[in-house]
């Protein structure tokens, strides 16, 4: 949303007379234009001396605004897009794949919630190792919890190599598809997501191995330090992070997996962190927990676009 002064180079009709007129009504940028009553503005323009020019200026700004919104799509186009692009990636963990009807879906934001040591990072590592066989993966790590040994272990379990050298080559090929980046505050994460956006825009044009999975472990540790203080910036950052992730997922056909932790709730039950404003942002939410003293984990659906919430399953890592 540019300032009107900056638009003059592109659209010469927005010269100083138009801008002075707008400034007299408190309009300095295109955004201010949107929140003003345009009929009143047009009426004032009529009464002014150079009314023709002012009306041209107003029409120009309106056409600039028109160019900015997303194109309209109808149901058939959405269905075509879903069939062609929005596949399902199996996580490699049988219990979770059965529960979700295949795995995590491209174009959606899936959240894993759970108390500490409930297997969230392990599920992410397993999914990354599975998807990396054919696609590229970006793992954003906030707690130094990315473990390449674990990825190598998961990959080693699934193949039956003829020789150590073949196994090494396979590991190298797959693990080179996984990129890991450490971010320790939310502004760094926004930087990385912007770089990723420009990378994906170039990627959409060419073929080859494409990036299809983004993991953020964990988004709650990035948001908690800024949330809840007296200013509202924390919540704005949280919502814009959520929308940016969803936009990346839909426009560039990524599956996005994020991790959230839990806090104490009413009656001693733990509930997901980040509060009610975050609750409706992820498309699907899965609650993980671990049986004390064993390798068995439980997963239940808190929210999913096409499955009933409350369905549960067990799995073993």
């Amino acid at each position: 949303m540019a300032r009107l002064a900056n638009l003059e180079t592109e659209y010469p009709v927005l010269d100083s007379t138009v801008r002075n007129f707008c400034a007299s009504h408190g309009i300095f940028s295109v955004e201010d234009f949107l929140i003003h009553d345009l009929y009143m503005l047009a009426a004032f323009a009529e009464q002014n001396n150079s009314s023709e020019r002012l009306k041209e200026g107003i029409a120009q700004v309106l056409s600039v605004i028109d160019d900015m919104h997303q194109p309209w799509l109808n149901g058939m186009e959405l269905l075509e897009d879903a069939k062609r692009n929005k596949h399902v990636f199996p996580t490699g963990i049988q219990g979770i794949d059965l529960l979700l009807g295949g795995g995590i879906r491209v174009g959606q934001l899936t959240e894993l919630v759970g108390p500490s040591s409930s297997g969230k990072t392990q599920v992410c590592l397993r999914t990354a190792s599975n998807v990396a066989r054919n696609h590229m993966v970006l793992y954003l790590d906030t707690g130094n919890s990315f473990s390449p040994q674990r990825i190598a272990y998961f990959l080693g379990k699934t193949i039956n190599p003829s020789s150590a050298q073949a196994k090494n080559q396979f590991l190298q090929k797959v693990m080179s598809n996984i990129s890991c980046h450490s971010v320790f505050d939310i502004f760094a994460m926004f930087d990385v997501l912007h770089q990723l956006e420009s990378y994906l825009r170039c990627q959409d044009g060419r073929g080859g191995c494409q990036m299809r999975l983004l993991i953020v472990d964990s988004i709650s540790s990035l948001i908690s330090p800024v949330l809840g203080s007296s200013s509202t910036q924390g919540r704005a950052l949280m919502t814009s992070a959520g929308y940016l992730l969803k936009k990346l997922a839909h426009q560039h056909n990524l599956a996005v997996l994020i991790i959230n932790h839990t806090v104490g709730g009413e009656g001693g039950y733990s509930k997901p962190a980040l509060g009610d404003s975050w609750k409706c942002i992820p498309h699907s939410r899965l609650f993980l927990s671990c049986d004390r003293g064993s390798n068995n984990y439980n997963v239940s659906i808190l929210r999913h676009p096409s499955m009933a919430s409350g369905k549960a399953a067990r799995f073993v890592i």
């Binding site: 707690g143 390449p148 040994q149 450490s182 540790s221």
Partner: protein
Amino acid sequence: MEIWRLPISASQRGKLISAGYTSLSSLSSISSSDLARELKVSESEAMNILKVASHSRGSETSNASCSIVEGAQSAWDMLHDEESLMHITTSSADLDNILGGGIHCKEVTEIGWSSLSLIVNSVLKYKLTTAFGSESIIFMLIGGVPGIGKTQLGIQVAVNVQIPNDFGGLGGKAIYIACIEDMSEYNRFLRKDFQECKIKMLPQDILENIFYFRICSYTEQIALINYLDKFLSEHKDVKVIVVDSVTFHFRQDFDDMALRTRVLSGMALKLMNLAKRFSLAVVLLNQVTTKHTEASFQLALALASAAYSVTARGIRNSSSSCKRIKMM
């Protein structure tokens, strides 16, 4: 509203928005003196704002073709890096076994200790940990009732990090941040040395290599963690940071629970950042508290629900002679 995403102060942001600058592109073609005049701020502030804005814009355009984002590493490279990582031994073979060789650098470790043996199945937890192989433990947080021996472990680690490379150690220095007044710790430092009879080091040398900070309030703690960045750039041979009772100043008389959560999670992220950037190990000592859940009392690490990013936690049981560790 991309201005939200810039790391600038709230008042500067408010001034930018009320002057009509709501996106990064609007800041692209203005000079710092014009901006200073419009926002009514000093020229240096305006220059700062423009620098921050152009940095976040520049990161969009300068995209290296080889990596997706700047600073990312592929998993294959990380696997090879990790194999060359050194461990700091805790001088206890069993504890070292559970931790996968000792306390790892680039990681923060938390262990809890208690004197009640309510918690069972430490053996199963041990099996779980070994099934993970040499699991990289990031944050080591040691929790326990005061006096049970967690300070012992902290001091032992601060001494052991100085073992020279020839003997399998790291040959580095240590930072010890203490919240609890205990002058007898100095004696303990000296006594520890006599166990390392193979290494010809004088007690004074060992003490010289430990940087001791004493903090008296939570604001000092936050300030110190922020200062450590500069300190570590000057003293590159520091290999471990031990924080005695990271949550001590937050437990009594701290009214604002939300502030506590925010500060602790922010502190954890900063320590994690230091651990990664300077390749050092961070050991946090904590206290345990009892948690009343479902009509039974269970031990839990103090402020564990303020879940700051901890990868490995353990609670140590000691009942007379037998000492067990439970990892959480």
